[in-house]
């Protein structure tokens, strides 16, 4: 059910990203001040935008979970936040590389995107430990949703606050996204579309895999009875939600209370 449309999605992702790479290196003109180094802009800024949107989307999915109590929404929220965290790490690393090339330091405080990303990363890095620290699956999902909503609201506010704190002190060097000339703007839009499609494809891919494992777990439980809950292929517990249907979640809860 999650795997439907995955093929079309991945093909279009590959096509758009290839087009974006071609545009970046063969079409977009060299920028006057930064030269070739500016090309990092086409990978760093789309990663940042998609990651931020992903965090906010994770918060919206968490709202849906609290409203409908459907564990599927909690799963989607978890995956969205997980993916955004990875894209966020990518943002930090590419931003750091850009800073090194521009200023000679691996980290700069006068670039608000980078700084607010660091804070957001530090916040969302507590998401998994939070889930891990709550045993009961229903409460874990509920508390995680509360966190995801709070953090999702925090992301844009934090961005604004950090940006305000660095303005008038140092001129922003790395981030100029406004008034791009035509060819650069086109390249940027295509790159943004490519990264957004990549995120969506990986998101779908991850959900499909998790759903498949949840179905396997349900099948095993049905075939082998209650002995089946010995976790065979999981080395240690995972923070990820493992059930997708409310009924299955009740069973898991019951099994958990029996001391398994």
């Amino acid at each position: 059910m999650y795997g439907k449309g995955l093929r079309a999605l991945s093909i279009s992702t590959a096509a758009v990203m290839t087009a974006a790479l071609g545009l970046v290196f063969f079409y977009a003109p060299l920028e006057a001040e930064q030269g070739f180094l500016q090309k990092i802009f086409y990978v760093h800024v789309p990663l940042a935008i998609v990651s931020l949107c992903g965090f906010v989307a994770g918060g919206i999915m968490a709202i849906q979970h609290l409203r409908t109590r459907d564990p599927a929404w909690d799963m989607r929220s978890y995956v969205a936040i997980h993916m955004s965290l990875i894209f966020g790490v990518g943002t930090l690393i590419t931003g750091s590389i850009w800073a090194k090339g521009s200023w000679g330091h691996w980290w700069v405080w006068n670039e608000p995107t980078l700084v607010s990303f660091l804070i957001v990363f530090l916040l969302y890095a507590t998401y998994q430990p939070l889930r891990f620290a709550i045993e009961d699956p229903e409460r874990q999902a509920r508390y995680a949703s509360v966190f995801a909503i709070t953090a999702g609201a925090f992301v844009p506010l934090n961005f604004i606050a950090v940006r305000m704190s660095t303005a008038y002190v140092h001129p922003r060097v790395l981030g100029a996204t406004s008034n791009l000339p035509g060819p650069m703007a086109l390249t940027f839009v295509v790159a943004l579309a490519g990264i957004a499609l990549l995120y969506t494809t990986l998101f779908r891919y991850e959900l499909t895999a998790k759903h498949a494992r949840a179905q396997l777990r349900a099948l095993r439980r049905r075939l082998a009875g209650d002995d089946a809950l010995v976790s065979v292929s999981r080395r240690g517990r995972s923070a990820a939600p493992t059930t997708l249907h409310p009924a299955a979640m009740m069973t898991a809860r019951g099994a958990g209370r029996d001391g398994l």
Binding site: K39, G101, V173
Partner: protein, 78 residues
């Protein structure tokens, strides 16, 4: 603003190239690491499916037994 930017060196191609390549390699590496993780998971899913298939052949599952997991009625394995 233009004054500050004018002082920044526009790195020549052979120097800037390393950084640009590094940034794009990071993106590539993230995607490839994810592919590797998914490949490992796919292997695990396949193995687990195999075990379940084996399990279903050993324990006879009567038709219409959906949701009915009464251990007292399970047949002992043949």
């Amino acid at each position: 603003m233009a004054g500050v930017l004018a002082q920044l060196p526009a790195l020549p191609l052979h120097e800037a190239g390393k950084y640009v390549a590094g940034a794009y390699v990071v993106l590539f590496a993230l995607v490839l690491i994810y592919v590797a993780i998914m490949a490992i998971r796919l292997g695990r899913i396949e193995r687990e499916l195999g075990e379940l298939l084996e399990l279903s052949e050993r324990t006879p599952v009567a038709a219409g037994v959906v949701g009915d997991a009464d251990p007292a009625r399970a047949e002992p394995p043949v």
